[in-house]
Amino acid sequence: MTRQLPFPLLPTRGGRSSIPAKAGVGLRFRHHREVLESRPAAAWFEVHTENYMGGGTTLATLDAIRRDYPLSLHGTGLSLGSAEGLDRAHLARVRGAVDRFEPGLVSEHLSFSVAAGNYLADLLPLPLTEEALNVVCRNVAEVQDLLRRPILVENPSSYLEFRHSTIPEWEFLALVARRTGCGILCDVNNIYVSSCNHGWQPSAYLAALPPAAIGEIHLAGHSIRQIDAMRRIRIDDHGSRVAPEVWSLYAEALARFGLVPTLIEWDTDVPPMAVLLEEAAHAAALIDEVAIGNGRALAA
């Protein structure tokens, strides 16, 4: 099975490399020097867009890394769900980063993080209503118009649901993709975390997503917060290895979506690059199994 994305992955300018359907690694500051000096065998890197605005050494370092690796820009500050509309100044900064680094992929979240002019420093859950759907679609369209390219929108982890939500998250995401032409960044860990927290069925979530829209998969570790002897909630803290249950769900996702660029994210207590590469190798082995299966199917 080869996959057709709903948009070309090759960047429109400069002929820079697209993101391969391999396992990449989230690049954090502590690994900058190591990546420059030893060129680890990562298939591609993804960085947080907001960490590369302005100027100076940090951006120059990413320029240098970009020359040797495919790069994806993953934003956390656009607040695609804001009823007040997008912060134009921030959108201009995102565009500046996209113009400078010519990433293979640009992504953001199905959430909001700005209200009444304040940035609230988290990916906050939306009420999943027709009103919110219209707002998200309007904002995604504005971003794509300005960047002159489609973006990927990621499902967040969440710790609460709103009483007046009427649309399941998986349907909401599929509708955003259908209406705006954006792709979906399927965070398998987030599906697992939210499913445990809200009593959803993770396999059913995957089954409801349109395979052709899946442009990237995220994998990360999460933790379990024990509220008391009986009650617990899963927290998406990106501070450990990918959980066994999430690897199983990832295998399901690959079987359903085909070969998709996959990223290992780790943001809390970031470990040595070798640990991230081990996690990426695990994902790569599962991708290879799907590729071999596809090859056999073609040969038969």
Binding site: G56, D87, A116, Y119, A121, P127, Y159, I227
Partner: protein, 260 residues
């Protein structure tokens, strides 16, 4: 309890009030099941406070070391609630922190703390400011003398001039280098310093100047026309300092002041 569903805008403002001011207005709209709304929203509030505290700590590492983690986190929580960020670019967050510290009674015994914080903000701005090509000095040479007299310079975005009542540069350096011997020798009493901060290819430079030099440099960077700045300059070689500013890339452009 039946509560009318809020609009998206109302809900998002209620979420802001919940995170920033621990307002309970949103509780009625949250599905509780076996975990109550306060507990669920508390997870988001923790992330809000801890992310912004971490951002402040990255911009103000010397202040963090001077006051210790517990004091820093307590003060940060009060600051964050009073001054939540207005931009998603957290490198820009915390400009008001030095002023906040100067009004904080519990930090009053560390009179030099706001000066160290102001220096750290200048260093933070220097680290993250936009890149800009330096002014080519030959562009000044082609001007006639009367035009050159009216030249007003545009400073490099990473450049700032800072006056401090306390030796903030020595304190800052000794704290970050964990140089206990230097710290022990420092007299943290009032002793004004005039500093220039700029990002250079090798890193951020914090340079101590004499007061007249500083006044000249600061005047050029705030749009004082060249001839007027030179007229004001006394007691040092202003032409040499101007040349230094030009060859060191401290200006990116100039414009001509309207002749009066």
């Amino acid at each position: 309890m039946a509560t009318a569903a809020p609009s998206l805008l109302e809900l998002q403002r209620a979420m802001r009030a919940s995170l920033v001011a621990r307002d309970r207005g949103l509780y009625a709209h949250v599905v509780e099941r076996d975990i109550d709304a306060g507990e669920r929203l508390g997870i988001y509030r923790n992330t809000f406070v801890s992310s912004l505290t971490r951002a402040l700590g990255l911009s103000y590492p010397a202040v963090h070391l001077l006051v210790g983690a517990e004091f820093f986190e307590g003060a940060a929580r009060i600051f964050i609630e009073a001054h939540p960020p207005t931009s998603a670019c957290l490198d820009d967050y915390g400009e008001g922190w030095p002023g906040f510290l100067s009004g904080l009674e519990s930090a009053a015994s560390l009179a030099y703390l706001p000066d160290v914080a102001r220096l750290e903000w200048s260093v933070n701005r220097a680290l993250h400011a936009s890149d800009a090509a330096p002014l080519d000095p030959r562009r000044l040479e082609v001007l006639g003398e009367s035009e050159r007299a009216q030249a007003c310079f545009v400073p490099h975005p990473s450049l700032s001039h800072l006056r401090a009542d306390y030796p903030a540069d020595l304190l800052w350096r000794a704290v970050l280098e964990e140089d206990d011997a230097a710290l022990a020798k420092l007299d943290p009493g009032p002793d004004p310093v005039w500093l220039r901060v700029q990002r250079l290819p090798a890193g951020v430079e914090v340079h101590r100047m004499t007061e007249p030099e500083w006044r000249f440099g600061a005047a050029l960077c705030t749009g004082r026309p060249l001839a007027a700045a030179l007229d004001d300059a006394q007691g040092f070689d202003a032409s040499a300092l101007l040349a230094d500013y030009l060859v060191s890339g401290r200006f990116t452009d100039f414009f001509l002041a309207q002749s009066i």
